[in-house]
Amino acid sequence: MVKRILAIIMLLIVGFWMANALSGVPFGEDKMLVGKYYLENVKEQTGAVNAVTAVVVNYRGFDTLGEVTVLFIASTGVGALLWRKKKERTAKSEGSVVLRTGSKILLPFIMLFGAYIFIHGHLTPGGGFPGGATIATAFLMLYLAFKDYEIEHKVFEPIEGLAGVGYVTVGLIGLAIGSYFLFDWIWQTWGWGHENIGRLLSAGFIPIIYTLIGIKVGTELTGIVDNMVREEVKDND
């Protein structure tokens, strides 16, 4: 009881302090400084229509590489912490008829939708991270529906690694052609796609990198799900 009262007092203090701090920040007013520059130059400099994607992949591409690394380390950590000598699916029963039939029918469409999201990252809301999460959802559904289902580890792990290597390679080609890591060589040096801004084949390396990120995030989240679902089997005989 004392703990609760203390917690509530502390929350009131923190809440008052935060509200006090935010009362000086006006809501709904134009406070852009760097954002204005990005919005005005995004079409000429990156070719992307979606300014958020341009900021994430092009202007702050190195930051996104760090983000992908964090996700990779987290997925590796999950794998390491849940490592057991022998792991198997231990589900007792299959999913219902509705779940099994529905997952078989919906699987290609969910994958297609995920691919659509990450390929059109420079045109519509979305991108590699939501697209990859959508693809991982398709595999999660298979895990829920079938009690013996397991992903092909020999296929998934190389794909994940190759996608990560591909991202770094695109950045290193930029370093070789231009002057800095993750230089947009397709847009700035080759000048491809300048005539069709707002269509699929534009925006330089953004669709390429976002496709790689989508594949990497999809396989990584699927790997996390796989590690959590399979349990240790003790052979006690």
């Binding site: 917690a7 935010l22 009362s23 809501f27 990005y38 229509v49 900021v55 997925s75």
Partner: protein, 114 residues
């Protein structure tokens, strides 16, 4: 008087913090952590909002003059992904704790130590 969006974001952060401080079940504490994260994301997004403007996608009539700030949205995109990664890692630690102590109660785990 602060805006309703800031109020909502602060409330979410406080609700999450209450769960982290008071609850004894580890899973409930993690749920609280996720709620806090949502509050922070909502706060960042609403700071970047500008009244009567659209999403920063410069097609179909949207110009740099009538779109909101893209930077908070890009940062929140990063924050959501990192949130997923940390939640997965935390849940893994919880799975290991449960398999070792057969309980999720933090005070029980503290007593069982050694």
């Amino acid at each position: 008087m602060i805006s309703l969006y800031y109020f909502g974001a602060i409330s979410l952060i406080l609700i999450g913090m209450y769960a982290v401080l008071v609850k004894r079940n580890l899973l409930k504490m993690l749920v609280g952590l996720s709620i806090m994260e949502t509050g922070v994301n909502l706060l960042l997004i609403s700071i970047g909002y500008v009244s009567n403007r659209t999403a920063p996608i410069l097609s179909e009539g949207a110009t740099p003059q009538n779109t909101v700030d893209p930077i908070p949205q890009a940062l929140v995109l990063t924050a959501i992904v990192i949130g997923v990664a940390t939640t997965a890692l935390a849940l893994t630690v919880v799975i290991n704790l449960y398999s070792k102590y057969k309980t999720l109660d933090v005070e029980e785990i503290r007593r069982l130590r050694g």
